[in-house]
Symmetry: C2
DNA sequence: TTGTACGCGTTATCAA
DNA sequence: TTGATAACGCGTACAA
């Protein structure tokens, strides 16, 4: 604190120490050698004035760097924290950027009409877009105008931007094929939210046409490649609870009684949804996989399943985050960023089996003993 | 972009539009009325120059505000993402700060010797410390020197700083008392990590004396108030897996056989640890709660438990985060911050019962039929 | 090894 | 409603 009550600046420190401001500055940045005696004097002066070190705002204006990478998350921040895939990706991201000792600035991408996206006035050196919907244009435009390095994780950004992608469609087809091989012909799906509004609804062509979330659409497309006419429910979020409610819609009537035309297998677009589906099935008295097969997507270590291992298709979430971080790191170093593509791995568990014997009778009642 | 290749500044825009820089500035900040015609001209000029809007760094230098609140997390960032209590607190924090439209800057508090804590050169307007150990001094000093508003969530910060606290000690005693009432006399505990090094070890007085994590110590103290001489294990983290490994240490020998002197109840310092303990017990052939009672701490909706509801003591994690956010918000508005204290609520579940009948025989073999 | 001088891009103040 | 001007606090060529 200076005598007149202002917060001390580096100029005050320099004056107190009897050196120039540049010398004082250099003492703190450590980029140039300074005589020990001089350094001591400067540090002593700083101490006596209660100088807190260079103001990061001013330093950042001068250097053009803030040491912050913005992470733009689609939807609520809370949602991001609750989704294991997102948190694991963030983990990989933080890991890859640790060497650059940058902080991660969490920003919500809520494209309110007429307002500038929050990314527009955040002092960031680069931006990562995670799980944003197709409506990322405004944010992307803002970032491009500012000339910031950017990486998009699973969002339709066009070829202009480095992206981290996943073979959602092929992977979904693969796991659907697994069920087909087992003999399932009456299969339903529970999708991730299809649009911003995140409402739980039966799938209709209208709703699919109005969907904006690429990940959900791609996974649905893969599924439909194998089961073109299958029914489904779009969930309101990747949560166990949502899986429970959605599965109930598929398995039971409004009064909670099992439907005769219920599917023999459920394809959930996330492991959490799958866990919920399994729980709903158990509550309805169905055994998994004997009465109902369930598969998930993601390959997170899904808690909540007892000791049963979920059949799923695993995505390399950690690697995705890390790849994004590495690209950011490169771009901050002036090199061009590249897109990186990842593929999923089928992982057999204990939640799928052939459909129950009596299913033919159940679905389309036929004379017995034929 | 200006003709000479520089990025356009507001001065360029003003010149192009034939107005002063202050007018141009005001057009973007919107704080003063500007004639429509003038605004149009300025915006058109900005458009033609590809001006991306005011540079947040410069604006922040001038206004002294960055619109960023730093969140200092103890330990790895990944850890923070994996801990449901932390994520829920972050959720509440984000919620309470949403109106101020600030971003959250995630920072790791790793006090490396000799280096300034990262918070020292982050352009933040305020700081929240979450789950930091007793070694928060350097960070706290740095924050104080910079005169930043700060709130400490569950950390020993002294009376100088607004804090959000929890009655860890009393709550722990309460849930231990619950077990005592049920008749348990041979009880063991699994604690949160006691120190930075996060190693899984049997509790010894030495290790407790060397502990640095207040939360773990407070919960242990409450437990010991009821069970002064109980054995225990300090886990390496609040994770299901850690609960499994720790519980095995308490229940079985190195060769995996149940110990005769095993406890009839386990007090875990977090729900995740408790879930792990239950799983370990099941793997060892023990039924919960018939053969072993298990209690947790936190009251998160612990997945991974099947349909069994965990007996635990619930903390208002969301409210804690929100309270921290509200205090920050107040302090940013110039009002003084206050400390807020929260208490936990006992929540009976299905994982506790009276100790098994044969326990007296087992622990201290006695002549039957007495 | 140290000092001088300038500019980074913006916004607040005040006057017109 | 607009304009001129002065900070904001620092880093860095360049010269000494």
């Amino acid at each position: 604190m200076t005598t007149d009550g202002r917060r001390a600046t580096i100029a005050d420190v320099a004056r107190e120490a009897g050196v120039s401001t540049s010398t004082a500055s250099v003492v703190f940045s450590g980029k140039v050698n300074v005589a020990d005696a001089t350094r001591e004097r400067v540090l002593a002066a700083a101490e006596s004035l209660g100088y807190a070190g260079p103001d990061p705002r001013a330093a950042s204006l001068r250097t053009g760097r803030s040491g912050i990478v913005g992470v733009l998350l689609g939807g609520e921040l809370r949602h991001a924290f609750l989704d294991p895939v997102t948190t694991v990706m963030m983990d990989g991201l933080a890991d890859a950027l640790a060497d650059d000792s940058v902080g991660l600035l969490l920003l919500r991408d809520d494209p309110r009409e007429g307002e500038a996206p929050p990314i527009a006035d955040a002092p960031v050196d680069a931006v990562v877009l995670i799980g944003c919907s197709t409506r990322i244009r405004p944010a992307l435009d803002a970032v491009r105008r500012r000339g910031l390095p950017v990486v998009v994780i699973e969002g339709d950004a066009g070829a202009d931007f480095p992206q981290v992608t996943l073979n959602n469609r092929e992977a979904s087809a693969e796991i659907a094929e697994h069920l087909f091989q087992l003999g399932h012909r009456n299969v339903a799906t529970i999708t991730l939210p299809l649009a911003e509004d995140r409402s739980r609804l039966a799938l209709t062509e209208e709703r699919v046409a109005a969907a904006t979330v690429d990940v959900a659409l791609d996974r649905l497309a893969g599924f439909r490649h194998v089961y073109p006419d299958a029914p489904g429910v779009s969930s309101a979020g990747s949560l166990v609870d949502e899986g429970i409610h959605s599965a109930r819609m598929l398995l039971a009537d409004a009064d909670g009684r099992l439907r005769d035309d219920r599917p023999t297998a459920i394809v959930a677009q996330s492991d959490l949804l799958a866990v919920g589906a399994i729980r709903a099935a158990e509550e309805l008295g169905l055994r998994v996989p004997d009465d109902l097969s369930v598969v998930g997507f993601d390959g997170i270590s899904a808690d909540g399943l007892g000791s049963q291992r979920l059949t799923t298709i695993a995505q390399p979430a950690l690697a995705k985050g890390r790849a994004a971080g590495e690209q950011i790191s490169r771009m901050l170093a002036g090199e061009p960023g590249e897109s990186v593509h990842f593929t999923c791995t089928f992982r057999a568990g204990e939640t799928t089996a052939s459909p129950p014997r009596d299913v033919a009778d159940r679905v389309t009642p036929q004379p017995r003993g034929r």
